[in-house]
C-alpha cells in the first residue's frame, strides 16, 4: 500500500492538514518519493487509524503524544524529566519514611 496525502486522509478520516501536523510533530512519518511527495504505507495508515482510539481510550492530546515521542527520541530529555519527577521527594524525606516504616514493623 502506498497512498498520497490525499488518499491517506480519505482512507483514515483525518484531514490532509492534520496529516502534515502529525508529520511535523514527529508522530506519523510518511516516506518520501524522490520527487518529494509523501507516501503513506501500511504502517502509517494503521497508526493514523488507531490514533483516534488511543486518544479516546487514554484522554491524551496530540501534544502529549508528541512529547512522549520526544521522550523516546531524546535520552537527555528523558533523563532530565525522570530526575525532575524523582526530585519531588528529597533523599531526606525518603529516609524519614523508610525509618517510619521500620519503626512500624
Amino acid at each position: 500500500m502506498e497512498l498520497t496525502v490525499g488518499a491517506a486522509a480519505t482512507n483514515t478520516g483525518w484531514s490532509p492538514r492534520m496529516l502534515r501536523y502529525l508529520e511535523d510533530a514527529g508522530l506519523v512519518l510518511p516516506a518520501r518519493r524522490p520527487s518529494g511527495y509523501r507516501v503513506y504505507g501500511v504502517r502509517e495508515v494503521n497508526q493514523l487509524r488507531s490514533l483516534r482510539e488511543l486518544r479516546a481510550a487514554f484522554g491524551v492530546e496530540l501534544t502529549d503524544l508528541a512529547f512522549a515521542a520526544r521522550l523516546r527520541q531524546e535520552p537527555g530529555l528523558r533523563d532530565a524529566v525522570h530526575t525532575w519527577l524523582s526530585g519531588r521527594e528529597s533523599a531526606l524525606e525518603w529516609e524519614q519514611r523508610k525509618h517510619e516504616r521500620l519503626l512500624a514493623a
Binding site: T83, L85, G87, A91, W94, E95, L102
Partner: protein, 158 residues
C-alpha cells in the same frame, strides 16, 4: 578497567568525575585510608562475601574500596534511591572493580531488585542502613541465613 562482574548503574561514562570526587573525599578520610593500607597487607577479609546496602556516595565508596582492599568480595546497593551519586556508582564499577546496583531516582521495583541482586551475592557479612538486606534475608531468603556470620546496621537519620 572493564569489569566482568554484574552491575547496574546509570552510565559508566560518568566514572572519571566519580573517581575525582572519591579521591577528594578519601583525602578527608585519613583514618579509613590508614585502615585500607593495613588491610592491603593483612587481608583480614580474604574470602568473605559482603553485601552492603548503604548510601552510594563518595564516603561509602571509600568504605567499599577499603573492604575490598582487605580481601572481601563486595557488592554495594543503595539504601535510598534518591541519595545515589551516579558518577560514584560508575567509578566503583569501572575503576575499582566493585559490583554496584544503584541508579539515582530508580523506582521502587528497581530499588528492591537491586537489593535482591546484593542478596544474590550470598553474603556472609551484611551492612545495612535501614535493614533492607537483613529484612530480605529474614523473609524471602531464609535459606541463606545459615551463611551469615554477622551484619551491621547503621542509621543516618536517627
Amino acid at each position: 578497567m572493564a569489569t566482568t562482574k554484574r552491575y547496574d548503574v546509570k552510565d559508566l561514562a560518568l566514572a572519571s568525575e566519580g573517581i575525582r570526587r572519591i579521591q577528594w573525599a578519601d583525602r578527608q578520610m585519613p583514618v579509613l585510608a590508614a585502615i585500607r593500607e593495613r588491610f592491603e597487607s593483612e587481608q583480614p577479609l580474604s574470602g568473605y562475601r559482603i553485601s552492603a546496602c548503604l548510601h552510594v556516595t563518595t564516603e561509602t565508596a571509600n568504605l567499599a574500596r577499603t573492604l575490598k582492599a582487605g580481601g572481601a568480595d563486595v557488592v554495594l546497593c543503595a539504601s535510598n534511591p534518591l541519595s545515589t551519586q551516579d558518577d560514584v556508582a560508575a567509578a566503583l564499577v569501572d575503576e575499582y572493580d566493585i559490583a554496584v546496583f544503584a541508579i539515582k531516582g530508580e523506582d521502587n521495583d528497581t530499588y528492591y531488585s537491586h537489593i535482591e541482586a546484593a542478596v544474590d551475592h550470598k553474603p556472609q557479612l551484611t551492612m545495612d542502613d535501614g535493614a533492607d538486606v537483613v529484612h530480605m534475608l529474614h523473609s524471602a531468603r531464609r535459606e541463606q541465613l545459615g551463611d551469615i556470620i554477622a551484619g551491621t546496621e547503621e542509621t543516618t537519620t536517627g
